[in-house]
Amino acid sequence: MKTHAVRRHAVGIIAILVSAVIFLVPFAFLLLTSFKNVQDASFLDFSWPKQQFVFWENVVAVFQTNDYMLITAFINSAILTVASVTLVVIFSAMIGWVVARRASRWNGVVSMLVLAGLIVPPAIVPTVWVLQSLGLFKTLPGLVLIEVAFGMSFSILLFRAFVSTIPRELDEAALIDGAGPLRLFFQVGFPLLRSVIVTVIVVQSVTVFNDFANPLYFLPGAENATVQLTLFNFQSQYQTSWNLLFTDILLITIPPLIMYIFFNRQIVAGLTAGAVKG
């Protein structure tokens, strides 16, 4: 029994050490470099700043770059994330709700389209072409709709699975009281879906906030970039200033980090859905 406990702790300690080297060192390196000045950072050493501790100066410098572009980018990313996630939640919940409640020939079609949405890579240039003919290319509303279109499949899957676990009796009680379909959905359905809605919101907002390819394709140009695009643009501008580059990475990692700290359980629930049932 005792040797068992010793072995258990030994394995644990080895795991902690190995994980620290593999997973924590890169983050520590990121943090340490963001404390340094340009010259100090250029050595890429894993060390405490040798010359000056200039973290705040770096933060200010990053914000000031290109006329406070990062602030515009944060605002753009916030609008993009909030708008697209709101629409994804409402529209996919409506679809998941009807598909799970009403057996019809449409269900097969919906399943097939959801599968296509998950697997098929979006066709870049034809999408640009469609956006352009709608006058939505290089606009934030256009990008919002793109994120909605690409994010719905996954959300519909979660909603459909969840709605089918809610007993119908509640619906029927509301129907007897004379509720219409919209009232039924928003006043009875929506509150019951709360836990899965939180999951979709958290997973989807981290995805949209971290998205790089879609803003790169559909919202090009420096003036209304998202935070991931500014990071990418800074990369060529700060070629020699690793300290500023890493400070920028740190700043734009804060929102997902907050999400992770507060909604750890919902993220895990959303991402592992389907692992047990397949």
């Binding site: 697997i119 870049i124 890493f246 592992t272 389907g274």
Partner: protein, 306 residues
Amino acid sequence: MTTLSQAMRLKSGLASRRSRRSAGSAYPYWFFLPGAVIFSVLFLIPTFASFYFAFTRWDFFTIQFIGWDNFVMFFKDPQLMRGFTNTLIYGVLTSGLKVVLGLALAVLLTSNITARGYLRAVIFFPVLVSTIGVGITFRALLDPFHGLVNKTLAGFGITGPGWLTDPNLALYSIIGVDVWKGVGLATLIYMAGIVAIPRDYYEAASIDGATGWKNFWSITVPLVAPATTTVIILSLIGGLRSFDLIWATTRGGPGFASDVIASVIYKQYQAGYYGLSTAGNVILFVVVTAIVLPLFLWFNRKQTDL
């Protein structure tokens, strides 16, 4: 008696018909409409259109049908062809490594070792960091001269290679970073699968004298098959379409050594070859569908058999 039962049947028939009608109007089809419009316009139409534009020389203003020329060019040009083979290597290796490492880590993290919560958080956190951020960080860590990795190797007297600058190595280095970033998700999925296995199986096996290794192969591996399916399919879909990480680390370089189809699509789009870029999209579509769809259907069938 008969009339009573007839009346009852009639009544129940009426009730069921009424409830069916009310069920219909309570869950109307127009609920599909907003989502369906956005999905059709921005996903379905471009996807169908790509099958036409792939056969054209196209710059938004003029369009000329040129048959299979774009595809011929894609497979004849060694650089574009390299992108094709790299995509397959990338998809298969990342998903294979995520299965093996994810399962190993999940077994470790569901056993009762110390500091499970810490380990889980640490392994999962990179999943949430932006891919561009991860790419830039690893460009610094893997720098051939100053990078932490090669400096550490030098401490042991080993001359580290140019991880991202050696044409034979760049793609595999990026695959390594991809696994570093994504293994946390595979681990979580496997943990959910392992936790769902009833303890009785292990107890019965231990009565029969099975040891840890035997347990792993005869109980854990077969019973986490649904999790394996999820991990393989998710990482194949992500890996075959991968763009962000490659773009942030090497932009497909050095030369074209680490190009994949997705980066070729972007490069051709930037260069103004819209038809060729769209042909790349169609090829990617065929590759992803041809690999993922049969797997998906096969695993689904297998599961309904069980």
